[in-house]
């Protein structure tokens, strides 16, 4: 079961900062559904995944499914 993180209406870099906090508190394998309509989120999410070693898939334009992978 994925947890919901609704960051709609929040500007860069808040969605990524909130996601980082959420993932830090999560167990390995936990999934988080991030809702974000900030134009920087999609680009920053792939850089975030590369830096932190986590995985994500783009569900739709402002829906991202993140998996804590390490």
């Amino acid at each position: 079961m994925s947890e919901l993180l609704d960051c709609r209406g929040k500007r860069c870099p808040l969605p990524i900062i909130e996601l980082s906090k959420k993932i830090k508190e999560s167990e390995l394998g936990q999934q988080v559904l991030l809702l974000s309509d900030d134009p920087a989120t999609a680009a920053d999410l792939s850089a975030w995944a590369r830096i932190t070693g986590n995985e994500f898939t783009i569900v739709s334009a402002d829906n991202f499914l993140i998996t804590k992978s390490r």
Partner: protein
């Protein structure tokens, strides 16, 4: 000095250039196309300035035109390239937005991607090139300082006899021309010259026609300010003195910043590598940091830095340059070093930065 401007020259004018500028307002105000004695004097001063600029940039004097609105040079150079509009227009993903914007005027445009180090995909470029292509590539990027392999790019372009426009506004006189090029664009701000003077170069023998409305054969509107042109020439002459030593010193300071940040701060994206960036620019992006807060925190300590992040730009869009490279677009700061930077400024900055970042990350 560490400057927040895009250009090294968004910085006080060189003192000699400033004096020339002030004197020139007394001497170089007349219309050089008129046969009055004042006109002849203005014409003589201008001819000297053009010769000096051409010499400093290792160009022929009949290859250069001065422009009063430098940002227009690249669009006009591309627009006037043979067949632009119908011909394939090829540009790098990290070009300046004025150049990328030219795709709206072309029936076929192709964006060439870059890798995480900012290097243009040379295989894709070679596959995309056709004999009538118009290629626009920057010598260096103004946000990251990353330079392109112009030698290899020029080789691919010349094989197709295509048009090669090079945007040299970020590198300025630090630019090693490849053996093949068609048009070039320089901005006097890159050598501590005044804003409002650009150099458009058209290689002798290259095909290009002025796309602006004109009745007489002309390559430029020639409506630039003569005093500013004289100051730009003087600033360039002064900038290139000791350039090799200056660049070597700036390069070692940038390397110090790169190594210190890597060693003391986790989760940071540093744009490009030491081998392929200009000696005076470094772009750093810190994960989970707000650029707005970072720029403000450094300002309090007396440092002016620029940022490519959306939260400090007028638009909501993040930097297309960082995005194209796949680097973090938030928490970005760009350090731009001028010739006169003191080693102590960098020591102070590096002593403060880890603490500032960790404090901002706690918030």
């Amino acid at each position: 000095m560490i400057t927040a401007g895009k250009y090294e020259g968004q910085h006080p004018l060189h003192p000699k250039a400033r004096q020339i500028l002030l004197d020139a307002f007394d001497q170089g105000w007349a219309d050089p196309t008129q046969i009055s004695s004042q006109g002849r004097q203005a014409q003589a001063l201008l001819a000297q300035a053009r010769e000096s600029i051409a010499k400093s940039l290792a160009l022929k004097v009949d290859e250069i035109e001065l422009w009063g609105e430098p940002e227009l040079i690249s669009p006009i150079a591309i627009w006037g390239a043979p067949g632009f509009g119908a011909a394939p227009f090829i540009y790098g993903a990290t070009e300046r937005s004025e150049i990328i914007g030219m795709r709206a005027k072309s029936k076929q445009s192709f964006e060439i991607s870059v890798d995480i180090d900012g290097a243009t995909d040379l295989d894709l470029l070679t596959q995309t090139l056709q004999p009538n292509s118009i290629v626009a590539i920057q010598s260096a990027n103004i946000e990251t300082g990353i330079t392109q392999d112009l030698k290899t790019i020029a080789k691919a372009v010349v094989a197709q006899n295509a048009h090669l426009h090079i945007d040299a506004t970020a590198s300025g006189a630090r630019f090693a021309k490849p053996s093949y090029w068609s048009t070039l664009h320089f901005d006097a701000r890159s050598w501590n010259g005044p804003a409002g003077v650009g150099v458009f170069a058209l290689k002798n023998g290259a095909r290009w026609s002025n796309p602006l409305p004109h009745t007489k054969p002309t390559r430029s509107p020639n409506s630039f300010s003569i005093p500013l042109a004289l100051a730009a020439a003087s600033a360039l002459e002064n900038w290139i003195i000791d350039e090799a030593a200056n660049s070597a010193r700036l390069k070692s300071l940038i390397e110090r910043i790169r190594n210190h940040v890597k060693q003391t701060i986790a989760d940071v994206d540093i744009a490009g590598n030491a081998q392929s960036t200009l000696p005076n620019i470094i772009s750093l992006s810190f994960l989970n940091v707000s650029s707005e807060q970072l720029v403000a925190a450094l300002e309090v300590e007396g440092f002016s830095v620029a940022s490519g992040s959306a939260c400090v730009a007028s638009s909501l869009e993040p930097s297309h340059v960082l995005k194209a490279m796949g680097l973090l677009t938030h928490g970005n700061m760009r350090i731009n070093l001028n010739h006169d930077v003191q080693d102590g400024e960098i020591t102070k900055l590096l002593a403060l930065l880890p603490g500032i970042i960790s404090k901002l990350r706690e918030n």
